[in-house]
Amino acid sequence: MRIELEKRPQVSKLYAFVSPLLALALTLIAGAIMFAILGKDPIEALDAFFIEPLLEVWSLHELAIKAAPLILIAVGLSVCYRSNNWNIGAEGQFTVGAITGSILPIVFTEWHSPMVLPLMLIMGAIGGALFAAIPALLKAHFNTNEILTSLMLVYIAQLFLDWLIRGRWRNPQGFNFPESVSFPPEATLPAIWEESGRAHWAFIFAIVAAVLVWFMMKYTLKGFEIVVLGQSERAGRFAGFSSKRMIWFGFLFSGALAGLAGISEVSGSIGHLQPAISPGYGFTAIIVAFLGRLNPLGIILSGLVLALTYLGGEAAQLSIGVSDKVTRVFQGLLLFFVLSCDTLIYYKIRIIWSRVRGGAA
């Protein structure tokens, strides 16, 4: 048995739409098999994982809280990836954004003003962008592989945060816990709808960012420039676009959104700075970007799906006693199936059963 690919004359619009859904279905099937192997009732497990978190108001709020950083980061990454720049260090930019955004409430504790929160958000975005500027600079001027440099910087950012929280920024009244002081109310991102639950403004930021980027990609010259340079650097040069400037744009933009996600998470969800502020949002956002087909509106949906895997993991751990590590497995499987189903968009797949066939070898 062999599998042969035949290039489609045109990109299949049908499969461009169907492939993410197909990938989701395959992930669920693989998940059911996995639960069966673990000795759980697959239907009950999938219900606990993917349905039950959607049935209660408080868990819908949690869904929005978890989806917000995923969507914010993934929207930035989608621009970067479209331009063929591979920033995979969003986790680090998220961390640095959280740190720079927290300078005001942690260091300048005496300053109380309605300006604190907006300034925090801006500083977070700037911090993330500056941290992303490192791989951009190295790629644009030293030709250094951005995948490896941006990833190495994740470890450096996390260690730096660890040092801050265990040293200088540790709360003196915190009984030696590695935590900063709690943020005062004026430094806390408010809830969207206080009476209903704790989902905060980060989710609004995420939706606004997605819509704005969607508009930019579809209707502006910048969007066209991103796509052209991403598909063919040579063609882009003929059109007068600079690939160097695009490296900077892609990294600074995705870094700023990751930084904004970082400070929003710390200010809105956690309320203080601590060594572990992210369950791998920066990496999961890569899956979100691909599942959303690098389309900002698709990313809103895929961000909600991946947020559900986090919630489902926590819920399934409590209700049916599977490890919350299952979340990561689901996320990995999902990315695998998304990537394999995407083949259908560009190729027809033929399975050839007979062993003998002339020509191809």
Partner: protein, 306 residues
């Protein structure tokens, strides 16, 4: 044993997994496949080796389990990128994410279980030579394997017909295909070899380096491996030297932490990662030499014309 010998021994233990995994990735990349999933294959190797050793009681069975797990996992990557021509960068990331998840799940019951250490193989007579003997001839099997791999990979790539074909595919897959070389099959074999090596490197982590299971215990070594291959401009001997350079940095910062030289531990822990960035910049800033050394088809999908 002098302090010097002790440090040398730990440097070897820290460098061996980097060398093994990087030699495997080197072969895959020479065939034109960029597998960014080394971290995932390595951690799968580590958990499988630990599990195999626990269940059988023999660290050697563990070693075999680690190699098999890495190879099997790489097959998944091969199927996606070679048969279904999926994006190699994204698939490699998927492999890493999945590997960290699956290993975390499988390894949950092994957390804080005492591990089984792969014991050194002592060569009679040779091991009695001062310094050299204790450093080179009292090592565990993985060290000898790393040396054998270095010699084997160098010979294969530059002295054998099959190696020549593999390099031809990596440099121009369309021409190689036109010459009648089976591009896809060769790349599958190269990817599986890379996976087996990453699995062996992972096994070394959980059976020799720190004989226990800790979640995410590969802690970025797979990524450092990828940097090593670039750093070595795709040459086996330079991979070996680079591996030892990074091993030495890792160990020296650990010793510096232990001695307490006034620099916070976190900054010392950053050193291997920072060193990777610095080295990458130095190596790649000259666009021309990079272009000459990089396999020209690296990371590009190949669909045979029919």
């Amino acid at each position: 044993m002098s302090i010097f010998e002790a440090i040398l021994l730990t440097v070897i233990t820290a460098s061996t997994p980097l060398v093994i995994a990087a030699l495997g990735e080197l072969v895959a990349e020479r065939s034109g496949v960029l597998n960014l999933g080394v971290e995932g294959m390595m951690i799968m190797g580590a958990v499988a080796a630990f599990a195999g050793a626990q269940m059988s009681g023999s660290p050697y069975i563990g070693l075999i389990c680690g190699i098999a797990a890495g190879a099997l996992f790489s097959l998944l990557f091969g199927f996606l990128t070679l048969t279904l021509v999926a994006n190699q960068v994204a698939t490699g990331l998927a492999l890493t994410i999945l590997g960290l998840g699956v290993s975390g799940m499988l390894g949950e019951s092994f957390v804080s279980v005492p591990g089984i250490r792969l014991s050194p193989i002592v060569f009679p007579f040779l091991s009695d030579i001062p310094v050299i003997g204790s450093v080179l001839f009292r090592q565990d099997l993985t060290f000898y394997l790393s040396i054998a791999l270095l010699i084997g990979v160098s010979w294969f790539l530059f002295r054998s017909r099959a190696g020549l074909k593999l390099r031809a595919i990596g440099d121009n897959h369309a021409s190689a295909h036109a010459l009648g070389i089976n591009v896809i099959r060769t790349r599958y074999l190269a990817v599986i070899f890379g996976g087996a090596c990453a699995g062996l490197a992972g096994a070394q982590l959980s059976l020799v380096y720190t004989p226990q299971w800790v979640e995410n215990m590969s802690s970025g070594r797979g990524w450092i491996t990828l940097a090593l291959v670039v750093f070595a401009s795709w040459r086996p001997l330079r991979v070996f030297a680079g591996g030892y350079l990074f091993g030495a940095v890792t160990i020296l910062q650990l010793h510096a932490q232990a001695f307490g030289i006034g620099i916070p531990a976190q900054f010392l822990s950053m050193l291997p990662y920072a060193a990777t960035i610095v080295v990458l910049v130095i190596i790649s800033h000259n666009r021309r030499t990079t272009l000459i050394n990089t396999p020209a088809s690296l990371g590009k999908a190949f669909v045979p014309e029919r």
